[in-house]
């Protein structure tokens, strides 16, 4: 097949190794072609809807290349499934402490399809974000191919390193627009022995924010603080039978410590509302639901098995998904409740993670939702709002990522033209014309 016909069919290029990736990108740059950088396409529906000549699929660059549990370090090729890494480190009682979320259920894809490259390119995190950080905080080193078709490395394989600019961190959240990662080294950490969750029932959003602030700011090492308002709590199997708003505080660690902290937290919070508990199993189910945004999962999304990269369910499922869009908002923890109030005025629902600072919103796909959400963010003191799930035309018509101010935008464009002067890598995925 010639390059020209390939372009027509929008087909997939599947390099076998890093050298192939570099060669492909060099070729694309010289021929004026564009490539959509992907792992296994599990997050193809994330970001602005774009059209490129090819998809550059890195799934074949797979496999863990180094794992030294006692050094707390793991390297793997960028196409390695996150699920494979999670299983491997769990075998040594370790974890990716930033608890990377799985977008599959939310986007109407299979669960467990994401790759390590996508994890860093999207800077994934989970409920442990406030205490343990996001992917950015655990990326130690990268190998990558920039839009120039050149292989470069940055960072290293040790947990403490300030040699040169911190490009592994800088490129976290770049969604493939600056470079295609080929290999990534991350820090891993011991897994807590066990987990329990203290619940406060029936709080409104503002009261919940106050309770979460008190808990997270206490001595008692709360490693997750989420609030699920009543309307959303009712739909969550992990909270079956409660029927009210739930404010959840996670305690992890060794059993004697959890017992001690649970007692102290109870004393601290008793006056704020009725308390309840989730044991280890129920806790794991609950925090998984929070991490993967299961209350707003697409119907059929998150199924396991079958081919990766295709959407789950047919036209009905898609129509259902498209009718209600999903936004992800990050603000100061105490400001979250104001975002929730704003989206309820237009029939939206939400729940909170990160002690109130992360707001997951599901709302009807009606205009002008972007300005409503972003005005609420700016009125609440600033932060960022990302349109996570919407039909392609909606994602093409408005800013999906938080718009940059003029000066920062110009700076980012200069960076882009340094790394990808020909505009080969996922052009437009983050910002129009870049």
């Amino acid at each position: 097949m010639s390059a020209a016909t390939a372009a027509m069919s929008g087909d997939r290029l599947c390099p076998r190794d890093e050298a192939d990736v570099a060669e492909t990108v060099r070729w694309a740059a010289s021929e004026g072609r564009t490539l959509d950088v992907a792992g296994r396409r599990s997050k193809a529906a994330l970001g602005r809807a774009i059209q490129t000549d090819f998809t550059l699929e890195l799934a074949a660059l797979s496999g863990v290349t180094l794992y030294e549990p006692e050094e707390l370090v793991l390297s793997a090729r960028a196409g390695t499934p996150v699920a494979e890494i999670a299983a491997l480190v769990a075998g040594a009682n370790q974890m990716m402490a930033f608890e990377p979320m799985d977008f599959g259920p939310l986007l109407g894809q299979k669960a467990g399809a994401g790759t390590l490259g996508g994890l860093l390119a999207c800077n994934l995190a989970g409920p442990r974000r406030p205490s343990a950080g996001a992917a950015r905080d655990h990326a130690l080193g990268i190998r990558a191919v920039s839009g120039r078709g050149e292989v470069f490395k940055a960072g290293g394989r040790v947990v403490k390193n300030v040699t040169g600019y911190d490009l592994p961190r800088g490129l976290a959240g770049s969604h493939g627009t600056f470079a295609a990662f080929t290999e990534i080294t991350i820090k891993v950490l011991p897994r807590p022995e066990t987990v329990e969750t203290l619940l406060i029932l029936g709080l409104d959003d503002a009261a919940a924010a106050g309770a979460m602030s008190a808990a997270v700011g206490s001595y008692y090492d709360v490693s997750g603080a989420a609030h699920v308002p009543g309307d959303v709590a009712q739909t969550l199997p992990a909270l079956a039978g409660i029927g009210r708003a739930v404010t959840a505080l996670r305690l992890e660690g060794v059993q004697p410590s959890i017992l001690h902290r649970r007692g102290k937290l109870e004393a601290l919070l008793r006056a704020r509302g009725e308390l309840a508990f989730l044991d280890a199993d129920a806790s794991r189910a609950f925090w998984l639901a929070i991490r993967d945004v299961l209350p707003f999962a697409a119907s059929g999304g998150g199924e396991v098995g079958g081919e990766v990269g295709g959407e789950v369910g047919g036209a009905t499922a898609r129509a259902e998904r498209d009718a209600r869009v999903i936004w992800r908002v990050s603000v100061a923890p105490m400001a979250g409740a104001r975002i929730g109030a704003a989206v309820r005025t237009v029939g939206g629902r939400c729940f909170y993670d990160w002690a109130g600072g992360l707001v997951w919103i599901e709302m009807p796909c009606t205009e002008p939702q972007a300005s409503l959400v972003r005005q609420a963010v700016s009125a609440a003191g600033g932060g960022h709002a990302t349109l996570i799930r919407a039909a392609a035309p909606v994602r093409a018509a408005q800013e999906v990522f938080q718009p940059l101010d003029a000066i920062t935008g110009a700076l980012v464009r200069r960076m882009k033209s340094g790394f990808d002067p020909a505009g080969v890598l996922s052009p437009g995925r983050m910002y129009a014309g870049m």
Binding site: W27, E71, V151, T163, S213, A422
Partner: protein
């Protein structure tokens, strides 16, 4: 100064000095512009006192607007600018340039906002690291990264160097604790990144600004997260007959799933130096001493102390003492914290190195360092952030003995090259600055460095911010921007496609 080569000063700037000083006085009136030799003297070096250079002029702005105007003026006139916090850098990051403005940020010394509910502090860059903790301590909070220089060093300098401390295995470096900055670009434009919220929602510019050693912009405001001070902290002293045994203990603690608040190792020479300096009560018969601090809720700390003791005993430790009071815990640390002055007493001068290695390479690295010590005829002691593999060899020398500084520097470079050879890096927390600049090619090839520099070019195309630091060779940005492409067919017809 030893063999260090800095960018040649531009004669026209030196010739225009009076005019430049006058123009800067228009921007920063009164005592904010310093141009006499005596008054500029204190700014001629940072923590690396072997390198000294008087700047063209010292400017001490006190508002973001002034910083913006100074940078815009410098940019318009092609004048280099070296930002400086407290000048405690151990890599020469704040070393002035003969034709450059030394921009001291010391007057930015106010805390602007303390928000206990959101657990954040907004500070100006000249506030000291300890100043942040002090401001929130009465509410039981603290700022976690704790470089040993924390009484003096500034939060702006911490952002510049991505500084760490003894607690960073558990609580992270500066970069993991900074939520936002206000920064002035060389054009004078002001940007704000981050805030009280987490992450950026896109590209992580903040992530590259932390640790950028003053080469990307001048930070004029910093938002950090603060944490509740742990309910309890206790330390265990473990003495071992060999560094191998101590290293095995560190590995076993981590393998048991324990991440201590701090885990430090000292070698025999450092134990003896510390003991002679302040009588910390360290055992003198050990080859390696570990201080393991557990912090957190009381029940957890007591539980983990028991486990650490078991692990130590199982690995043949000769001394094992757990602190039973706060005073005793502080005493355990006193010797470690006084490591530098203690060496200062046994040697007229010393160089402090800062490589990181995979921990398992420790025995090899220590024995190779002993050989180097014999080869160079210089003593070398070791303190080691054992949990994260960050070595601080202290090389003793006498600057008054001709040639000894050069020997010490060569010894230091050999140590860092060894760190890279075993899979480690040139610097764990002190930064590249001028000190490790010329060693960068041992870790990064031309293409790696060119990509780093392209980032620099996006921020500072004329390379006016802190030139001569970090990069061994600073290419012209136009040259780096060019792309050599040869038109052609998809070169591998056999690549799988679907």
């Amino acid at each position: 100064m030893s063999g260090l080569v800095m960018p040649a000063p531009k004669a026209d700037l030196l010739a225009r000095r009076a005019e430049i000083v006058a123009a800067l006085r228009q921007i920063v009136p009164g005592e904010g512009v310093i141009d006499t030799e005596t008054e500029m003297r204190p700014f001629e070096s940072d923590g690396v006192t072997a390198y000294r250079q008087l700047p063209l002029v010292v400017v001490l702005p006190s508002t973001t607007q002034q910083v913006s105007q100074v940078l815009a003026y410098a940019n318009a006139n092609g004048i280099p600018v070296v930002p400086r916090g407290a000048g405690t850098s151990l890599s020469g990051g704040a070393l002035p340039l003969a034709d450059g403005i030394l921009l001291g940020m010391g007057k930015f010394n106010r805390i602007l906002d303390i928000d206990f509910e959101n657990r954040t502090v907004v500070a100006q860059p000249g506030v000291t690291n300890l100043g942040i903790t002090t401001a929130v301590a009465d509410h039981g909070f603290y700022y976690a990264p704790d470089p040993s220089s924390q009484i003096a060093c500034t939060i702006g300098g911490n952002v510049g160097e991505n500084s760490g401390g003894v607690h960073c295995l558990k609580y992270g470096l500066t970069t993991n604790n900074v939520l936002g900055v206000e920064m002035v670009l060389i054009t004078g434009e002001i940007i704000r990144l981050g805030g009280k919220h987490l992450d950026s929602g896109g590209l992580d510019l903040l992530g590259v600004i932390v640790g950028s050693e003053g080469l990307l912009g001048v930070v004029t405001e910093v938002t950090v997260r603060i944490l509740r001070k742990p309910e309890t902290a206790r330390a265990v002293l473990l003495g071992f007959p060999s560094s191998e045994a101590a290293g095995a203990c560190v590995a076993a603690i981590i393998a048991a799933g324990i991440i201590p608040g701090g885990m430090e190792m000292m070698d025999r020479m450092m134990v003896h130096a510390a003991e002679a300096f302040l009588g910390a009560g360290y055992p003198l018969d050990v080859e390696a001493l570990l201080i393991v601090e557990l912090d957190g809720p009381e029940a957890e700390v007591n539980h983990l102390i028991g486990r650490v003791a078991e692990i130590g005993n199982g690995l043949g430790c000769m001394t094992l003492r757990a602190s039973t009071s706060e005073a005793e815990r502080v005493a355990f640390w006193a010797g470690r914290k006084a490591a530098f002055p203690a060496v200062g007493r046994i040697s007229p001068d010393y160089l402090c190195m800062d490589g990181t290695i995979p921990r398992k390479a420790l025995p090899l690295v220590l024995s190779r360092m002993e050989e180097m010590s014999v080869k160079y005829g210089l003593r070398c002691g070791n303190v080691f952030h054992a949990g994260d593999g960050n070595l601080h060899p202290l090389i003793c020398y006498d600057a008054n003995t001709p040639g000894e500084l050069d020997k010490a520097e060569a010894f230091g470079a050999d140590i860092l090259l060894l760190c890279v050879e075993v899979g480690g890096v040139l610097t764990g927390e002190h930064g590249v600055g001028v000190e490790k600049r010329d060693l960068m090619p041992s870790m990064f090839n031309e293409v790696d460095l060119a990509h780093q520099q392209r980032l620099k070019c996006a921020f500072d195309p004329e390379a006016l911010l802190n030139p001569g630091k970090v990069f061994p060779v600073l290419h012209r940005c136009a040259e780096l921007g060019r792309m050599h492409v040869s038109a052609g067919k998809l070169p591998f017809p056999d690549i799988p496609r679907f």
